[in-house]
Symmetry: C2
Subunit: 653 residues, 2 copies
Amino acid sequence: MSKSYWIWNYGDYEIFHTMSLHLRREEQGYHRPPVWKISAPYVSIQFIKQFYCEKGYLICYMNGCGYIDIDNQRYGEKTRIELSKGEHTIKIFVSKTSGLPAIFVESDVCPSDGTWISNHFAGEFSPVGYNVFFNSVQRNPENFPFEYKNVLPISKEKINNGILYDFGTEYFGFLNITNACKNEEIRVFYGESKEEALDVENTYITDRVCGENTYRLKQRAFRYVYLKTLLDDIEISADYEYLPLEQKGNFRCNDELFNKIYSVASYTFHLNCREAFLDGIKRDRWVWSGDAYQSARINRYLFADKEIEQRTLLGLLGREPIEQHINTIIDYSLLWFISLYEHYMTYGDKEFLKRVYPMAKKLLEFCETKLNKEGFIEGDEKDWTFIDWSDIEKVGAVCAEQMLLIRAYQVMSLMAEVLDNGDKNLLEKKYEFLIRQVNAYYWNEEKGAFIDCYKSGNANVTRHANIFAIMYDIATKEQTQKILKNVLKNDNITKITTPYFEGYELDVLAKLGDFKAVEDKITSYWGGMINLGASTIWEEYDPKKCGIDHYEMYGGKYEKSLCHAWGAGPIYLFGRYYLGVYATSVGYETFIVKPNLGGLKEISGAIPINGGTVVISLDKEKLRVVASKPGGTLVWDNKSYILQPNKAFEIIF
Amino acid sequence: MSKSYWIWNYGDYEIFHTMSLHLRREEQGYHRPPVWKISAPYVSIQFIKQFYCEKGYLICYMNGCGYIDIDNQRYGEKTRIELSKGEHTIKIFVSKTSGLPAIFVESDVCPSDGTWISNHFAGEFSPVGYNVFFNSVQRNPENFPFEYKNVLPISKEKINNGILYDFGTEYFGFLNITNACKNEEIRVFYGESKEEALDVENTYITDRVCGENTYRLKQRAFRYVYLKTLLDDIEISADYEYLPLEQKGNFRCNDELFNKIYSVASYTFHLNCREAFLDGIKRDRWVWSGDAYQSARINRYLFADKEIEQRTLLGLLGREPIEQHINTIIDYSLLWFISLYEHYMTYGDKEFLKRVYPMAKKLLEFCETKLNKEGFIEGDEKDWTFIDWSDIEKVGAVCAEQMLLIRAYQVMSLMAEVLDNGDKNLLEKKYEFLIRQVNAYYWNEEKGAFIDCYKSGNANVTRHANIFAIMYDIATKEQTQKILKNVLKNDNITKITTPYFEGYELDVLAKLGDFKAVEDKITSYWGGMINLGASTIWEEYDPKKCGIDHYEMYGGKYEKSLCHAWGAGPIYLFGRYYLGVYATSVGYETFIVKPNLGGLKEISGAIPINGGTVVISLDKEKLRVVASKPGGTLVWDNKSYILQPNKAFEIIF
């Protein structure tokens, strides 16, 4: 029998799971939906397949209600239908008001797979969505394919009529309680920190159970669990829920702190890789486009999981009409374009690009409704100009947003070129114009830097716009040198306090070859958290703070996420600049390996290159590189060497 | 305590109930979703209320999950929250992935009512939707407020190991079976006709139950019920489900057949007035815009229920983006505009007009994407050019559609004038241009008629476009006279076979004063059905057919609806042309009463006039008119008389 999969209208799977996770946030006893529009899957779908057969049969299963139309004859689901010799047109109609309308067709001649087409009874027909995991009737695509592992606390301590458990590191999963007493109400306090779990008045996430001897609670994030119970022999464990991902990239060096940071960052990142890239595993568990942009960069050097990037891009984009910026944030709309392009460059999935481009164009059109008379993108009262949690002056059009818009136009023009759809020239004109405008309005020769905004007249300088200008090659060489001196290496310019923007800053410093600055910052900033006992990387870290003040954010005593994806930036830095691997054409058809020890004595590791791997080791005496596929060029000591696939290239110094 | 209502995001209630009913169709054992895009309510909503109070409290109940934010402090639902003295901003966030997100706030100072505003976390805030029926926490707005009456069959007959019940007339409701035997599987066959109920292989709607002594089945439409059962003492009844509507209009005359037709039409119509105007109560139970247009015209002379018209208009329009014609039918998009305008003229609800106009404009913009180079609206492969179930030549742009587009432009320009939004002039130019084009391309001087289409070169003439041309005053006086002779009174032009278009034809004949033709047609056509024993009016009637052939349609032996709303047209005709009442300015602020006996000896009745009633009686000797509100002008014998409110005006001949 041919292979069947659950099939759905393309994009609805991602929208369904993004919707579900966005509406799952709970805190302090209530649900907290996101502050932006939530897209839902279409409720009614038609699937079509045309084919010829000698004879055959089919049985259709539905996630939803509907019927099967074969050559204009109607049938119900779950019954075997015989097919005669000839051409057939099968239409299957299915609707579901909550969930993901989908079908599974068991057949020897027309199994449900990627050859079927569908639409929502409007718009063009296009190939359905499916996923090889959902290859049996029982594997309902509404149940996201996580895996589970039972984990036990590593320690237990009686405190104030209760028991504090430490699982040793953070987990996301279902807490199991056994040996409870039916009559006792047990209160459960989850903590990313010990302090949070014990501070029962202020714990962010709590549960309360009664009436049974055993419980399985909702999925929560925690390292510590404090149970208010008088029972001594109560027992707990957790079903850790995670996405099975193969770690394709790795990095080691002689600095054990760096190795520890790499490992903690990897674990932090893995916890946040789920239906999509989450920001943090405890609090929002939402998908934020800027966070996701950085996650995608990290992912490419660790798991290189194409699927999660595509799910994230589709889930963020949502459903037409586009009525607001992604997450309501201007920069997060713009980073979405850049992420799409970098995704395409990494994996070379042109089919995906083709499918997403029309909606990307609509998002760009939406952005262009927000241009002011100078051509700059500007927020109105509904838009959030985020950039970073930092004191950037945000009066009128903000420079950092323009840097992203320039890059967004550039990548859209590059993608238009790939798709050869005629949009390229106009997009090029737009970014060329915008670069001229940005230089005219934001470059301040006196300060030797781009200023935050021009409307206030303050000529305030922060790091952010200047970092983007270098990151996306918008600054000229001369401007870059000035920025380095006047901004990046200038201690009078406010320091970055989020790992999010620290990731961008270090990207730029590494790009400019300032490995010492990169290492100092990793040591002090990430190392700072590790030295405080962090087993996962935090949302924000301010070395000046003390004790539980570290856990405060957004006005909540423990509202800060202590396991935040954007903290995993060093994975990207080590892979991109130390092992030095990056694509130079679509899908790693060609790529550069340009290793750099920086201030280290010894580095080694592997980097995924879209279906292959490059393995690198470098110390003071020897460089060794093996790439598993062709297209690689080793750059070392200002010379280039062609890498032969699966053949070790060694240089002894 | 102040009065609280369930409140929701405006429009979502109508979209939710339209979605639900559209997805409820079942036949021959399977669900059958509509062939167009189904809109769903937004899944996540924010509600806002700002106010001052000395002190107060509130308790919020949610249909969905979420939280309450009072002055930036968060609370869960169902708890009493005390309010201190001062200004307060209350935001309530609620999400629900299936159903209607809504809230109910019990409070002495800020009860949930029409003063709250909401949006879907995007777009503008606007006043919430609510309905005075939903005035307690228990009355969940997802449960449509129908009423119920238990009805019993009027006869019972044992036939072929089963029992046939006749309820005397058609009902929609839940069948109850009592005194059944747990072990016996009972099969249930519903029929609008006796033949259908007994033809168990072909019955359109069936049920099958087993395992209990009593059953309550799903809502179905039926007059006859045939139970396959061996039990003699089994008993059935039905819970008739209906919308409680006050009959505000009525009509009687000396012709008992006409009185019977009026009464059967009224009942037929009432059965189809539910969440929205349905086409027929048995088969689709869908909302079709053309059917609904005619239903609205009928409603205005019978129930004058403003609410059902608004629910229908909103439900049909659905959610952005507009990707297809309403019901995929070109004429049904265009009739939607006309219906909106006639609705406004009848009830004068400017607030509703203001709310709907922006989406109406988007629908018109969508229609304009379908204009050909001559400026005519033309269907592509995704569009259905319906007009009527009749042999109209449909090559390229079809004339009847242009007539509707002209009227659509006209009514949009009239509504733009009411709202003073600057759209008027352009819309006027558009319809003036289109009238010229229609005359140039479709008027055939030789045939003295508008032809179906110009592309084929056949100059085929049918009644439809010509009827619209007169109905909407597009034809000149001279053209009108030619059409009357060459088309309407010409037996060589194919006759109308649906009560739908017959309604329009008779409207035009009555308008032109040909009451004899109207009466002849009502007698032969509607009378024909009555004489065949119809207790409700059918979807289509062809006097040439015999026996059960009358029940066949769309290739199904019993697929024709025998209780179809569009059959109720005579209610409109009697009210509009015999009692002769119609509005001449918005909301019946002024109106005409122009009674006409036609060929009858005696007519009497009442017509609702937006908050008032006109009572009329007329025979060969006397005319008597009483209007309960000012603004009326009686037109009689080419003279006009001002009607004084509540004062009988009598003329003795």
